[in-house]
């Protein structure tokens, strides 16, 4: 207990989370089960939605999450980067998506591609760290070309690796460019950039090579709901406790953080301080738990990915004031969908209730009611963007959110500006 207190006091949360996940992996499964499950994860095509809990089991999945986190933490240390909001969000997003799509095998070529981009631009690799940490959302393209095409490995491995490197090489330029499309109101901007790239890959693979991209089974496992719910509560508690341990009066800083619109690039650690950002991260975890409990959503790999991503962005744009309205908007369609369509709401809609917070800055800027509307529009759009991009972009909600923000923000700005003029004239 004293060691935990010291770790929190020293702000060593991320290495501690790695240790917790790594230890839990071996608590739930034995070594041989983890090894077999991990091999299954590495050989999976990993396209949306490949639930590693179903493919490899809980122990292997936690091992996958822990190892990817470790590699990224070590990379950050080697680059001598200090913790910032985007870096924190990037790490937790990586952890989240390591439950359903990211593994060590399919992420490395993309990192290497960004390294080549940095060399080409004659800029330090670490200046691309934000893109690096979010880049692996498109990692299924690597796994698909190697394990999903049926090609022999001597073709599949070079093709997958080359696609990963090419993606990494082009991604910084594309993500910088598309941010203007939605004016920074989509927090998953790199997900949007990757959606566009994925759309191209999907078109090439279906049109030129005749692949059916939706042939893969999208089975999820809800068998570990209780364990993952407890894990989320523990993590949320750790983050909240760390804020209070380091500053007992930390809540005094919360109004400043809540007052932010959350629009890119809102680094809460820089703007409001690290301790209150960690409290906010924990609060966002609790809000996620509340949402899935009320909506009776069972936790599988994808839902867990959503929860960790929402928590991570608690340091980079999301807070209760801007997130709850859009989550409410998405929840309306989640509840109405079975009545309207006659089919049970699937996992895609379940995770959209969490990932809808990509458009949280819309609520932060334009208020609760327009935020609810944006959340509703988002969840209606996500199934269509999934079909466009073929499942290669794990951040499908980021892809959808780019369109939602680009469509709604100009209209909302127009309406707000008109109101301001009227107020000024009065």
């Amino acid at each position: 207990m004293i060691n935990l207190y010291r770790a929190l006091k020293k702000k060593m949360m991320l290495p501690m989370i790695f240790i917790v996940l790594f230890t839990m992996a071996f608590l739930f499964d034995d070594l041989s089960s983890i090894a077999q499950g991990y091999l299954n994860i590495l050989q999976s095509p990993s396209v949306l939605i490949s639930d590693y809990l179903h493919i490899g089991g809980l122990g292997a999945t936690l091992f996958n999450v822990a190892t990817i986190m470790l590699i990224n933490i070590l990379m950050l240390r080697a680059l001598k980067l200090k913790m910032s909001g985007p870096i924190f969000a990037g790490l937790l997003t990586i952890a989240g998506f390591s439950f359903f799509g990211k593994n060590i095998f399919n992420t490395i070529p993309i990192y290497f591609g960004i390294y080549l981009h940095a060399r080409h631009q004659r800029l330090p690799f670490k200046s691309f760290i934000i893109v690096v940490l979010f880049s692996t959302g498109i990692s299924p393209i690597v796994s698909f070309l190697i394990f999903g095409t049926g090609w022999p490995y001597y073709i599949g491995i070079p093709a997958g690796t080359a696609a990963g490197i090419l993606t990494g090489f082009t991604l910084p330029a594309i993500s910088a460019h598309v941010i203007r499309f939605h004016k920074g109101y989509n927090l998953y901007n790199i997900g949007f950039a990757m959606g566009i790239l994925s759309m191209l890959y999907a078109a090439i693979l279906t049109t030129l090579f005749g692949f059916d991209l939706f042939v893969f089974e999208s089975t999820t496992s809800e068998a570990y709901h209780t364990e993952l719910l407890v894990l989320t509560l523990i993590l949320s508690g750790i983050f909240i406790a760390s804020g209070f341990i380091n500053d007992p009066h930390v809540l005094k800083k919360y109004p400043k953080l809540l007052n932010s619109t959350g629009r890119l690039v809102s680094d809460f650690i820089r703007d409001a301080g690290r301790d209150i950002s960690m409290v906010n991260v924990g609060v966002m975890g609790l809000i996620s738990v509340l949402a899935i409990t009320v909506l009776r959503i069972q936790i599988n790999g994808a839902v867990m990915g959503g929860i960790l991503t929402v928590m991570g962005f608690g340091a980079f744009g999301k807070h209760p004031r801007n997130s709850i309205p859009v989550m409410l908007g998405a929840s309306i369609w989640f509840l109405l969908s079975p009545i309207v369509t006659g089919e049970e709401a699937g996992v895609g809609l379940a995770i959209a209730v969490l990932f809808v917070t990509a458009v949280a800055p819309i609520a932060g800027r334009f208020g609760i009611f327009l935020g609810i509307f944006a959340g509703f529009v988002h969840i209606v759009l996500t199934p269509f963007t999934y079909v466009f991009q073929g499942g290669f972009d794990l951040y499908n909600n980021g892809f959808a959110a780019g369109f939602v923000a680009a469509l709604l923000v100009p209209v909302f700005e127009f309406l707000t500006k008109k109101k301001e003029v009227e107020e000024g004239e009065a």
């Binding site: 910032s84 985007p86 631009q121 004659r122 800029l123 330090p124 670490k126 200046s127 691309f128 760290i129 934000i130 893109v131 910084p172 993500s175 910088a176 460019h177 941010i179 203007r180 004016k183 920074g184 932010s260 619109t261 629009r263 890119l264 690039v265 809102s266 820089r270 800027r365 700005e413």
Partner: protein
């Protein structure tokens, strides 16, 4: 000069002009001096409000962040009342404010870190 540096300098000029205008100042000058490794932006305004200057001090005196040079800088120049100068502050190394009679001169200094 590196093409990326040219784009960022142009955006900074746009954001500064936008910032001054949306605060209601119609009479100002903005000089830009580009040297080999440093760019100076000198904004001269007659009797600027204290609130506007304080806001500039708060937002622009932040530590420069190299990550923003590759992600987010494209958003500067497109601002609203809540997000103005948020990103610009991360692209500037130093700010100097001088007052001469009723004129206030605000100089922003940016070092180029791009290799030719």
């Amino acid at each position: 000069m590196n093409n990326q540096e040219v784009k960022i300098i142009s955006k900074i000029i746009r954001e500064l002009s936008h910032y001054v205008m949306i605060h209601g100042y119609k009479n100002y000058t903005l000089e830009t001096r580009i040297e080999e490794k440093v760019t100076y932006f000198k904004l001269s305004i007659q009797n600027p409000s204290k609130a506007m200057l304080e806001k500039m001090k708060e937002k622009v005196s932040r530590e420069r962040e190299l990550e923003v040079e590759t992600y987010g800088w494209e958003l500067i120049g497109d601002i609203d009342e809540k997000t103005e100068l948020e990103i610009l502050g991360l692209l500037i190394d130093e700010m100097v404010i001088e007052k001469k009679e009723d004129m206030t001169h605000i100089t922003l200094i940016r070092e180029s870190r791009y290799k030719e």
